[in-house]
């Protein structure tokens, strides 16, 4: 039995996004058109060239793939969609890479479009009003419990208390503090200050972080992401196809899928010992994504990660072996993760300061960094960038 060789077989040929912001009062379909149209134009293609669509999220917060095809007049050979939660950006892009490599479609748009704070048709506002507030959200009401440790019966229906408990366990285990965590927020805000698309551009200090209000202790407001409306899209094609298009191709060199099981919990790595994870020493070893890309961590010029909470940056660094368990607070100090630091991370400002689009805005930034399009926040000489998450999935992109 042979395996399908996918290293460098697919590439991102175009990226696009809408404006990001709270209460834009624009529908998710409207925002999606800006992202899809922008990505097509970036690639020198037309919307009519798109024959595959993979959507992250969808109802109730976003536009669904089949709806987008009908309403926007896309003629799709394939579409698919991941369920109404984040964490699936790499999953979608990996599927697209497989689809184009297998010849099942030629131009696959991968995207999310959210209208989380603005127009959200289809939900009964009348019923919501009558309830006098919201009940547990749909994620929290899942049989078997919410995926972030939610248990509404005991007062948590949102993702943040689960993240807070992982953070607290880490703090007490390694003697880290909220002040240590502040450096992540401060660094990403510096990036956002250099990014016109970011929704929070005013620089912040450690003191600002420490003065921001407690939300789910020990996490403070400045450890939280910018929940916004917006859309972002990447177009995936075969690498040989990409070479004939407008922009230089960004190759997908490595892929590692999203794991699940009792040793996995969205905010931590196996062995960390929260939720139902066993507690045992963790060693990153050589993760499969590096083997597929035929490179090691030393080749990574910048690391991007899902930063829905600042703490996740530490978890990603330790999970992927950029430092050992317990060392991340030291690793993220002194601007070392800034665009001109030792390991640049989330140079758009990430979820914390640019926009929380479940990592989709970060895929756009990665592609632009590898093309050298990032101006004042450009990572010098960026050739290889990794998307790698606390929850265990990854992509390695190279120019």
């Amino acid at each position: 039995m042979t395996t399908l060789e996918l290293k460098d077989r697919a590439a991102v040929c175009g990226v696009g996004h809408s404006v990001y912001g709270r209460k834009l009062n624009r529908s998710a379909i409207d925002l999606a058109a800006d992202a899809i149209g922008g990505a097509a134009e970036d690639a020198g293609l037309a919307p009519a060239d798109i024959d595959g669509l993979i959507v992250s999220m969808g109802t109730p917060y976003g536009a669904d793939a089949d709806t987008l095809a009908q309403v926007l007049g896309l003629e799709l050979k394939m579409y698919s969609q991941t369920w109404a939660h984040g964490r699936f950006a790499a999953t979608c892009i990996q599927q697209a890479a497989m689809v184009v490599a297998a010849g099942m479609a030629n131009v696959v748009a991968c995207m999310a479009s959210l209208s989380a704070t603005g127009v959200r048709p289809g939900l009964s506002t009348q019923r919501r009003r009558r309830s006098g507030g919201r009940g547990p959200d749909r994620e929290a009401a899942r049989e078997g419990g919410g995926g972030h440790g939610q248990d509404p019966v005991y007062g948590i229906d949102a993702p943040d208390p689960g993240a807070a408990m992982a953070t607290q366990a880490y703090f007490e285990r390694y003697g880290a503090t909220s002040r240590d965590l502040a450096s992540v927020a401060v660094s990403f805000r510096r990036h956002a200050s250099l990014n016109p698309a970011a929704v929070r551009r005013d620089p912040i200090t450690v003191e600002d972080h420490q003065a921001s209000r407690l939300m789910a202790a020990p996490l403070r407001l400045l450890d939280y992401p910018q929940l916004v409306d917006g859309a972002a899209c990447v177009l995936v094609v075969r690498a040989d196809h990409a070479r004939n298009l407008r922009k230089p191709p960004v190759l997908i060199s490595g892929m590692q899928p999203l794991p699940a099981g009792r040793d996995e919990f969205i905010w931590t790595y196996p062995g960390f010992g929260v939720a139902q994870q066993a507690r045992r020493p963790y060693e990153a070893g050589t993760q499969p994504v590096y083997r597929m890309a035929d490179m090691d961590r030393s080749a990574i010029d910048a690391l991007f990660t899902y930063d829905g909470f600042s703490f996740l940056v530490w978890m990603a660094l330790e999970r992927w072996g950029f430092c050992n368990p317990g060392e991340a607070p030291g690793f993220t100090r002194d601007g070392r993760i800034e665009f001109d630091g030792a390991l640049p991370m989330n140079t758009s400002g990430g979820s914390l300061s640019e926009a929380h689009l479940m990592g989709w805005n970060q895929q756009v930034e990665i592609v632009r960094q590898l093309r050298g399009e990032c101006g004042d926040r450009q990572v010098s000489g960026a050739e290889v960038i990794q998307w790698a998450n606390a929850y265990g999935d990854s992509l390695i992109y190279r120019r």
């Binding site: 507030g133 509404p152 019966v153 005991y154 007062g155 202790a217």
Partner: protein, 140 residues
């Protein structure tokens, strides 16, 4: 007991009904495997460790340790808004599984990872008892 319980109710299914019915009788039971002895949460139709369907319900000690905790200052959850700030804890039971719960009889400043705790049957509504935990008295 509140006249009208406005907090979220558990989603009771055939799988977890014995758990909730047990709590209502002030019995703390979780599924366990007759094959490998594993005890787990949440309830599942087979043992998640060895996949045996030869399973039953075991009475537990009701003791454990705080694995982690938070104090929620902001919630959108109806029924809990009036309670902020309130604690939420993850307790590792002596038998192994972890539960999300709330700690009672303790100030937030005294909560620590590793704190020994024991179950308190909190009868919050008609036929609804929650498994909350309190610090284990010294010497126990």
């Amino acid at each position: 007991m509140e006249a009208e319980y406005e907090k979220p109710l558990p989603g009771v299914t055939n799988l977890n009904r014995p758990y909730w019915e047990g709590l209502a009788r002030h019995e703390f039971r979780l599924p366990h495997c007759h094959g490998c002895g594993h005890v787990w949460y949440p309830p599942a139709p087979w043992c998640p460790r060895c996949h045996s369907r030869d399973t039953g319900w075991a009475a537990l000690s009701g003791r454990g340790r705080v694995n982690s905790w938070t104090v929620v200052h902001v919630t959108g959850l109806r029924g809990f808004r009036g309670d902020v700030p309130y604690n939420v804890a993850e307790v590792t039971l002596d038998e192994g599984p972890r539960l999300i719960t709330n700690l009672v009889d303790i100030e937030p400043g005294s909560i620590r990872v590793g704190l020994p705790v024991e179950i308190v049957y909190d009868d919050v509504a008609e036929e609804l008892t929650l498994a909350r935990f309190r610090p284990l008295a010294a010497g126990q």
